[in-house]
Amino acid sequence: MPGSPFQSVALHDVSLTIPDGQFVGLIGHTGSGKSTLVQHLNGLIKPTSGEVLVDGQSLSDKATDLRAVRRKVGLVFQYPEYQLFEETVAKDIAFGPSNLGLSQGEIDERVKEAAALVELNEELLARSPFDLSGGQKRRVAIAGVLAMRPTTLILDEPAAGLDPKGHKRMMNIMRSLHERGGMTLVMVSHSMSDVAKLCSRILVMNKGTLAMDGSPEQIFMLGTKLTEMGLGLPESAELSERLRGEGFHLPPDVWKLEQLVECLPGLLSKKGGTGGGA
């Protein structure tokens, strides 16, 4: 059965721990179980066996206040801009905080704060969300979740459908949420490139289970396995592997474009000029 956003893919044997403040990338082909896994993290789906602990509390425990968990663990679905409904951008962002029973003053503050976090111009706050561009709408939707002040934020393909400029901006927002906001972030993506550039840890899902768990460099060393799973490497990583295969002495942690620009000239001028092949 095909890739509708919430297809029930069975998960099996998934064990992992995400420490505070980590930026985790979750990657896998459609149907690998990424969306299913992610919906377990805030209790939208309960596991049939095993348990999910958030800050030490089990989500299967009846005593756990799921609403409080959802305040702490924010979840932004794919194409979140389709959930906007209020008359003004400010009101839509305020929806979450107002459900928390905060004072108007607190709400206003949070709205401004959230808008700033997603680089949303303050003058847009009074406009109708339906007047905005796709990329702006998406940021409003994300702000709506940020206004709940979650400590952990999970985003399902935040850059889906955005053009290169929008994509770049979204990745920058992700980075600053992690670095400045100190949030724990989980980003689900199809782009190995995006995930490798931003995340210190990558989880690779395949057919309902966790196939790989490690840093980008560790994952890239298993390049052939990735291709088997229908995933690719970023082009610069692919090139690095190719060159290593051809005898270039690239340090194992080199895979980014900037690193290649640094290393390659040295490796070439050492050997270049010595003349034609043997």
């Binding site: 509708s4 919906q39 924010g74 979140p80 959930q83 979450g96 459900n99 979740v145």
Partner: protein, 263 residues
């Protein structure tokens, strides 16, 4: 959940009932409904039931599925029976207890009403179980198309129904996603009085409506891009053709109705 919504509970198969032209089936169902109200004696209902059960057997559809459909109306049937039995008018009193009276006539009416309901449900179920939604809309369109000449929008109606059927699962999925997203922001769709719940629906309904309108817009453009300009001069992939089977079915219905009226 890629929702597998089999609307109208279509049960695919290759029985004689499945192979009947949808127009024939619609007309047969209509005739049956008329017939049900014409029947006015125990033998008549017995004949009717035999007919319907024979048709059900011919369709190859498991009985439990058909009984499932009856389940929904058990209550109504029981209620109708009780109301007519205890409060129906009549002369020959059978039982009297306090303010409750059961007369022979009342009882007879109660039984007939119950039987009628059962036949109606069974009969219309046979229609929806053996005819796919698209065949139904096709059949309706063809049946009504003569009226198009006097301005009845047969084609448009069929197109609307077909598009609605196509998008119901899609919109349901979207509604589900929106609900989950709003719940994640603290929305509460469950608790509170009627007013509170109605208000809580806004974050669900507004995006859904906006999305539906956007879809309609895009769909209209896509339809025009494929040269859609209304029902005039359209040909069809599937051409509905009456066959001998439909003739037999028609004859059998005519016989049924005659018997029912006469007996």
């Amino acid at each position: 959940m890629a929702l597998d919504i089999t609307l109208g509970q279509f049960f695919p198969g290759d029985s004689p009932l499945h192979r009947l032209d949808p127009r024939a089936k619609l007309l047969l169902t209509l005739s049956m409904i008329v017939g049900v109200f014409l029947a006015d004696s125990y033998p008549a209902y017995a004949i009717f039931f035999t007919y319907v059960l024979a048709a059900a057997w011919l369709s190859g559809i498991p009985i439990r599925l058909m009984l499932k459909g009856l389940k929904a109306v058990y209550f109504i049937i029981a209620l109708t029976f009780v109301l007519n039995a205890f409060f129906g008018t009549g002369q020959t009193v059978l039982v009297r207890w306090q303010f409750l009276t059961i007369t022979r006539e009342g009882l007879r009416t109660a039984v007939f009403m119950a039987l009628r309901l059962m036949l109606l449900v069974f009969g219309t179920q046979l229609l929806t179980l053996t005819t796919s939604p698209i065949a139904l809309t096709d059949g309706l369109e063809r049946l009504f198309s003569p009226f198009a000449k006097v301005g009845f929008p047969a084609h448009e109606m069929a197109m609307m129904m077909s598009i609605a059927l196509r998008f119901i699962p899609t919109l349901l999925e979207e509604a589900d996603k929106i609900m989950k997203a709003q719940t994640a922001r603290g929305a509460d769709f469950e608790s509170g009085n009627l007013m509170a719940r109605a208000k809580a629906m806004i974050p669900l309904l507004v995006p859904l409506f906006v999305s539906a309108f956007r879809r309609a817009d895009e769909l209209a453009l896509a339809m025009e891009a494929r040269c859609y300009r209304g029902g005039e001069h359209r040909t069809r992939l599937r051409v509905l053709k009456y066959t001998a089977l439909d003739a037999w079915a028609g004859v059998s219905m005519a016989m049924l109705l005659t018997l029912v009226v006469v007996v």
